[in-house]
């Protein structure tokens, strides 16, 4: 074989690899996720309504606003701060597709860091997407990552200096939405995103922000509510009630005053709103996991993580039944509903009453897919895409 023919063959092989992988990455970045909004959704706007500096970027996400017949408090549910913690996004999805407000207002965000939903972790062998089975078929979702897509914000600095505290943080967290609060108007894409959310919180007079997350079992902040001091009483009441009534343990921790950039610290410090962050267990994130597959993501079953538990390395229990996505999502829906109930008891002059959302036992018994609505049967004007 002559060198020229060899180079041509290798060149075409490389080109084929480039085209095939490029198509795969392009398609997974643009996978459309349908949202069939509930009858309770009265407005859908985009984040750029509150700050034009985000317009036209990957993070100009949809904002679903639900309004009750009677006035009351305004809550904001943030899903998708870390998209690779899917229970947070899916719980918010259930609210957008099912919730009906009787009193108060609810603002639901499904892709708080939309850019991060379009990429998976480099070297992590993450699947690009996953599917939830329903009675009408499967609904596909992008898996995403913890950090904004490097295609939207790059390069990272040597050290990330948080604004406005000046605290030094890990360089990669310059793309972590939950290290960039409260953001700034002329900052990076991730900082501008949190700035836009802060503008939204102020403009919509939000009383409470709930940021939904999942955590690896080797991380001590797990199965818990992290609370700003403004919401301590509320979080304590929710934690006690959930643990007593719902069949799962929910702790409570204070937001550290000197750890900056996190929603539970900065939203409370820089706005009139109080802030809570909920954590559910996700074995998929554990460093000692086995194969990083869609099945592992959804079942939460992993022999290696179970073994780590036997060696006392975990902060949450796990056995061969794992942590299925239904349990993780159910924890979030119950926690939000209980927060609404406890808030209404503590603020009778400003209640928030929400119907048609399943609690933990319902989601576990009937499956998450039961609460995802069929886009093929959506009425005109009631379907949106993430």
């Amino acid at each position: 074989m002559t060198p020229l023919i060899r180079k041509l063959i290798l060149g075409f092989a490389g080109l084929a690899l480039l085209v095939l992988s490029g198509i795969s990455f392009y398609q997974s970045r643009r996978l459309k996720e349908p949202v069939v909004v509930s009858d309770g959704v009265t407005q859908v706007v985009t984040l750029s309504k509150y700050f034009s500096g985000i317009e036209g970027t990957a993070n100009d996400c949809n904002i679903y606003i639900l309004e009750g017949k009677e006035p009351g408090a305004t809550f904001c549910i943030l899903g998708g701060t870390h998209p690779e913690e899917p229970a947070g996004r899916l719980a918010a999805w259930i609210f957008a597709e099912n919730a009906v407000l009787q009193k108060g207002r609810l603002i639901v965000v499904l892709s708080a860091n939309r850019s991060a939903t379009t990429v998976t972790r480099v070297g992590g062998a993450y699947p690009p997407d996953f599917a939830i089975p329903t009675s009408w078929g499967e609904q596909e979702f992008r898996l995403g990552d913890r950090w904004s897509n490097p295609l939207d914000q790059w390069p990272d600095p040597e050290v990330y200096i948080h604004y406005p505290s000046g605290q030094y943080l890990a360089y990669v967290d310059v793309r972590n939405l939950n290290r960039c609060w409260p953001g700034r108007a002329n900052g990076t894409l991730t900082e501008r995103t949190t700035y836009a959310f802060m503008e939204m919180i102020t403009a919509e007079k939000v009383d409470l922000v709930i940021d939904l997350h999942e955590a690896e079992l080797q991380y001590p902040v797990i199965s818990t509510i992290v609370t700003h001091e403004k919401a301590q009483d509320l979080a304590a009441m929710v934690s006690m009630t959930l643990t007593d009534m719902e069949g799962f343990k929910m702790g409570m921790e204070f937001s550290p005053k000197n750890l900056h950039g996190l929603s539970h610290r900065e939203i409370g410090d820089h706005s009139d709103a109080a802030s809570l962050l909920f954590e559910a267990p996700e074995p998929f994130l554990d460093a000692t996991r086995g194969k990083t597959t869609r099945e592992q993501l959804l079942t939460g079953k992993d022999d290696f993580v179970v073994k780590a538990g036997k060696h006392g390395l975990l902060f949450e229990k796990i056995d061969s039944s794992g942590w299925p996505i239904d349990k993780r999502v159910g924890r979030h829906t119950s926690s939000i509903l209980q927060t609404m109930a406890s808030w209404s008891e503590m603020h009778p002059e400003k209640p928030l009453v929400c119907d048609s959302i399943p609690r933990y036992a319902d989601v576990v018994a009937r499956g998450l897919g039961r609460y995802l609505r069929n886009p093929a049967q959506a009425r005109p004007g009631r379907i949106w895409y993430e």
Binding site: P3, R6, K7, L10, G11, A13, G14, L17, L18, S21, G22, F25, Y26, V119, P150, L151, Q153, W154, P155, T188
Partner: protein
């Protein structure tokens, strides 16, 4: 400032890609040819804003 740094970064990616492709064309060692093809792929994916 961020946008300038990003533009410089993409210029660097384009330069490295061009150097790698030049090396691929110039080398007579088939192992280096294979290595260069493998190495240049992530640079091109980034240059074309695919990954």
């Amino acid at each position: 400032m961020d946008i300038i740094i990003t533009i410089i970064y993409y210029c660097l990616v384009a330069f490295v890609s061009a150097v790698l492709i030049y090396n691929f064309l110039k080398t007579k060692d088939w192992q280096k040819e294979v290595l260069t093809i493998i190495v240049v792929l992530p640079f091109l994916l980034r240059l074309f804003m695919l990954k």
